[in-house]
């Protein structure tokens, strides 16, 4: 690798809401404080960033001193919980401008939270959000279906997917069905 390209931006994985909702395992690569944190997706890949397109159905402004927004983005399989706080002022202001319902494209970092009653929640910390059209949503469903199928077909052959097998006991057929159902909702 050439020295000037030593930094490689983490790719944004494509994942459906119902798969992200099942995500429970989070880990850090390396000891450094700045090392990236990944979640392990049940279909067998680590992810430090995701790209989602769906319908923003709801958004709320929260907090007094530390203002943040959270919202719900719906895809054919379920709901993503997104949030943008004052640490991401650009993203927060972008989100503040968008009036639901709207098709949105979101780039963000998946994060795991455990609520006081012990349930594990996955939320997406928004890096950027923009209003898109229905065509982009449909393209995203196709793209996400393709990426998910690629992962499922390689399941068991990669280190990440072996780990996913251990952590989640993933049954690839279940996720294939999810992909099929998502595709079936795309209108021709």
């Amino acid at each position: 690798m050439k020295p000037q390209s030593a930094f490689e931006r983490e790719p944004a994985r494509r994942v459906f809401a119902s798969e992200l909702r099942e995500t429970r395992y989070q880990f850090k690569e390396g000891e450094d404080e700045k090392s990236p944190t990944y979640v392990l997706l049940p279909s067998g890949i680590r992810s430090n960033r995701i790209f989602i397109v769906g319908t923003l159905t709801e958004k709320q402004r929260k907090g007094d001193q530390n203002i943040f927004y959270n919202g719900r983005v719906v895809d054919p399989t379920g709901t993503f919980f997104i949030m943008a706080g004052s640490y991401q002022p650009e993203a927060m202001q972008q989100l503040a401008r968008i009036e639901p319902p709207a098709f949105v494209a979101v780039v963000g970092k998946p994060n795991l939270y455990t609520t006081p009653d012990g349930t594990c929640l996955v939320s997406v910390r928004v890096e950027s959000i923009s209003v898109v059209d229905r065509d982009t949503r449909d393209l995203w469903v196709l793209d996400t279906a393709r990426e998910t199928l690629d992962r499922l077909e390689a399941f068991g052959t990669t280190d990440d997917s072996k780990k996913a097998q251990e952590e989640y006991g993933t049954q690839p057929d279940v996720y294939k069905k999810i992909v099929y159902d998502a595709l079936a909702q795309v209108q021709l």
């Binding site: 931006r9 995203w140 279906a145 159902d181 595709l183 079936a184 795309v186």
Partner: protein, 411 residues
């Protein structure tokens, strides 16, 4: 043992390696060791030989090998070798330093190599187009390319030979640092970035493209755009991992015919996930050949404050295919089409809108962010310079294929 015998033996050994030692000096050193310091003759011989070899910068003297006198083809020599070659002077370039007497390129039928003759070597000047036998020269590496050094221990003799020499043409994609000959077409003629530069641009053949430079020099002519040339003995330099061709050592002859240039277009399809700062409406330095981006205060890192800047549009973004994030750079025409705004309109908006140039950044970002595009172009320093960018369209047959892949019957 008689010291003059030893002296004779040492001087012959050194001469065989190309040095011209002073016999008196050898003898006086031997004397000093043997008579003043009581060293035995064999040890004195070894010491004096080694000392002088070091002084004349010779290696391998006294050891059994005498490879330096064996004639070798240029293609087989490597840095670190002591060599004897026979070749034709195919290029002479002006010396850049007073300690260099001559430099240029010498070639035989196997290959060509750059050479340098040190002023200290007191070697006879070689003439362009003639054949020479060069004995006991040393090969080292200069700027990552092999280079033949002619020093005081090197013997040069002119040969009466005049064999025609046809350099072998190398495909552009296979060029290595050193000397190379290509048959290529001039596909781009760039603005020169330096006053000493005569011409720069891009050459290409079926296998790829390479940047070329011609520095200003007497009798150097420019290449014509879109013409095909046979370029013999150009210098291949490497900088930051990229190769470029310097034509000042080269002889170029225009050639009939055309070349279908392999452009090595890279195509990436993905979602535009990030619009980087420095996108949108920017100001560029108006100084000829500079073109740098100015700061908001119109400051050019080289030419300082430039109030007569010119505006430009560009988009620096990340196109992400889900597996890798690719940096892409789009120029004005592409951005105008993608964002549906012309440069003139953008300037008009920026000059009347309270947000100024930021307004254009936001407009372009809102138009492009989160959308799917197919970009093709050439990769340069880890960034795709986009030649064309089209939005991805929805194809029902892809949906059908994916439904099949996901296993229709399972539903």
């Amino acid at each position: 043992m008689n010291l003059s015998e030893v002296t004779e033996r040492i001087s012959r050994k050194l001469e065989a390696n190309g040095a011209q030692p002073d016999r008196q000096k050898i003898e006086s050193r031997l004397h000093r060791l043997v008579e003043e310091f009581g060293v035995n003759t064999a040890e004195a011989e070894r010491t004096v030989t080694a000392d002088l070899a070091r002084e004349y910068n010779l290696t391998g003297v006294g050891s059994a090998g005498n490879t330096a006198t064996e004639l070798r083809p240029i293609s087989e020599i490597a840095p670190g070798d002591w060599v004897t070659i026979e070749g034709k002077i195919v290029a002479l370039t002006p010396a850049l330093s007073p300690s260099i007497a001559q430099n240029g390129i010498i070639a035989d039928s196997s290959a060509a190599i750059r050479f340098v003759t040190w002023t200290r070597a007191n070697a006879p000047a070689m003439e362009y187009g003639h054949w020479y036998r060069i004995e006991s020269a040393v090969v080292d590496e200069y700027k990552g390319t092999p280079n033949l050094k002619i020093h005081s221990g090197t013997t040069i003799s002119r040969m009466e030979k005049d064999a025609p020499l046809l350099p072998s043409i190398t495909p552009v994609a296979e060029l290595k640092p050193g000397v190379g000959s290509v048959r290529a077409k001039v596909i781009q003629d760039w603005e020169v970035s330096h006053e000493r530069m005569l011409q720069t641009g891009l050459l290409g053949d079926e296998t790829g493209t390479i940047k070329f430079v011609i520095w200003k020099e007497d009798a150097k002519e420019k290449l014509d755009l879109d013409a095909v040339y046979n370029i013999f003995y150009a210098t291949v330099d490497e900088y930051n991992g990229r190769l470029s061709l310097s034509l000042n050592t080269a002889m170029y002859i225009s050639d009939e015919g055309d070349i279908e240039v392999g452009r090595h277009e890279t195509e990436i399809q993905g979602a535009l996930v990030h619009v980087a700062p420095g996108s949108g409406l920017i100001k560029r330095c108006p100084v000829e050949g500079c073109n740098r981006t100015l700061s908001r205060q119109n400051y050019c890192p080289v030419h300082e404050i430039q109030p007569n800047f010119r505006y430009d549009l560009r988009l620096k973004a990340v196109l992400d295919d889900g597996v890798r994030a690719h940096n892409v750079l789009m120029q004005r025409e592409i951005v105008e089409k993608l964002a549906g705004i012309t440069l003139e309109e953008a300037i008009g908006i920026a000059e009347t809108n309270p947000l100024g140039m930021d307004e254009i950044f936001y407009r372009i970002r809102n138009a492009a962010l989160g959308r799917y595009y197919t970009c093709s172009g050439s990769e340069f320093g880890g960034r795709l310079l986009v030649n064309s960018c089209t939005p991805v369209t929805f194809k029902p047959e892809e949906l059908a294929a994916l439904l099949n892949r996901a296993g229709g019957e399972a539903a």
